[in-house]
Symmetry: C2
Subunit: 217 residues, 2 copies
DNA sequence: TTTTGAAAGTGGTCTGACCACTCATAGTCC
DNA sequence: GGACTATGAGTGGTCAGACCACTTTCAAAA
């Protein structure tokens, strides 16, 4: 049997050290030379472990300064997942559906949360929609995703929104403000069902619209 | 500005090489020394890139034999990420919630699909649940995910299900068969609401159960 | 006081050297 | 001839030492 890889132990050692020394995101972790001496391994072995963690986005290295623990919430989970998930010919329909899964779920969550449904953001939204034409559609949905509070879901959504078939290109037109107002009103009175159906209606309308007309800024 | 990291280029070079040379999972990729010479970098740099790819589960190294393209199923990724990420309560909650988002959405889809709700798989399910004790909980949910027909959603779910906090460990006990039967019955009569709520009830029950009792095979 | 620059410390890279292991093969023994 | 053994080439695993490029610090010079 192959003996366990050294650098994997190092990964765990570093992990343990971080928790023991109470190193928080943004803090500096010991230098490579220090770690090598402390853990009794060569510097190259330390580096192999660190490079792996860096690729995952768990740490950040700055030449001349040191190695820093990055915010765990900014982990590259989604990016990494995407290399596994989206590399093969994933049908566009699945991407579309999955994005909607997250959107619907988010809007339901927002409706169930009395606080977020009353956030001042929304009043600003209504004003801006009525006054200006250059309000990006994507920002509207993104706001819902953010308010849902699930950062992982938000990241997945952002990733999916980059793929083809994203209906939220361009900015909000006058003709669609009514639909959006309905959605916002439903959210404010915490009417989850109406909010979700309103979102679906808007998306369906967008799908038709972008199919025949393509307006870019 | 820091110049871009060398080993990151190497990662891309290797990926390019893999696709150009049409290397398939299980095949051997050039040795570290070969790669170092070909790409005009030191062997240590090559190793840093390879170690990163290995941690991601993209390649597999066997001392004395070589480095092989992996079937990218054995993500070390999940273990490593989870030890770093999931100490954060919010992140763990996000993973949990996001997994449920996909589950609920899947069960709603399955209920809306007359065909999949009548698939023979389900009758077999009921029998097996009643006859045997060793029916893995995860398989039950997985079946729903598969039947939903969204392969992307399925993949995301599979990955999320590997993280800690997964309630579907172990096998189905006699006491929970009733809950599952209810879910199946709801699916058969395409009662989406009941099916979804049934699933939620089961998950809540599991959460309590695995909290106090831990049964392993 | 301000500016300069030298030194220390850091990550980035390369080299060369071992070690442990696998495998193919030439060689040996029966 | 067939089975076993030893050897060597090739591989990944690890280490030590040496530079380089960069950042920060701080004492010396203006």
């Amino acid at each position: 049997m192959n003996q366990p890889k050294r650098y994997l132990d190092i990964v765990l050692d570093i992990r343990k050290m971080i928790s023991q020394e109470n190193i928080r995101p943004g803090d500096r972790i010991p230098s490579e030379r220090e770690l090598a001496e402390t853990l009794n391994v060569g510097r190259s072995t330390i580096r192999e472990a660190l490079r792996s963690l860096e690729l995952l986005g768990l740490i950040e290295t700055r030449r001349g300064e040191g190695t820093f623990l990055s915010d765990h919430r900014n982990h590259r989970l989604v990016e990494v997942l995407s290399t596994f998930i989206l590399q093969d010919d994933q049908s566009q329909k699945d991407v579309w559906e999955t994005r909607m899964i997250h959107e619907i779920s988010a809007i339901l969550t927002v409706c169930g949360d009395a606080v977020s449904s009353q956030l001042p953001v929304w009043s600003g939204f209504s004003k801006r929609i009525n006054e200006r034409d250059f309000f990006p559609r994507e920002d509207f949905v993104k706001e819902i995703m953010v308010l849902s509070g699930n950062r992982l879901s938000l990241k997945i959504w952002l990733l999916l929104a980059q793929y083809s078939g994203n209906p939220y290109k361009g900015h909000i037109l006058l003709e669609e403000t009514e639909m959006l107002e309905n959605i916002l009103a439903a959210i404010r009175r915490q009417d989850a069902e109406k909010a979700a159906s309103g979102l679906k209606i808007w998306i369906a309308w967008l799908q038709k619209e972008t199919g025949k007309d393509d307006d870019d800024s």
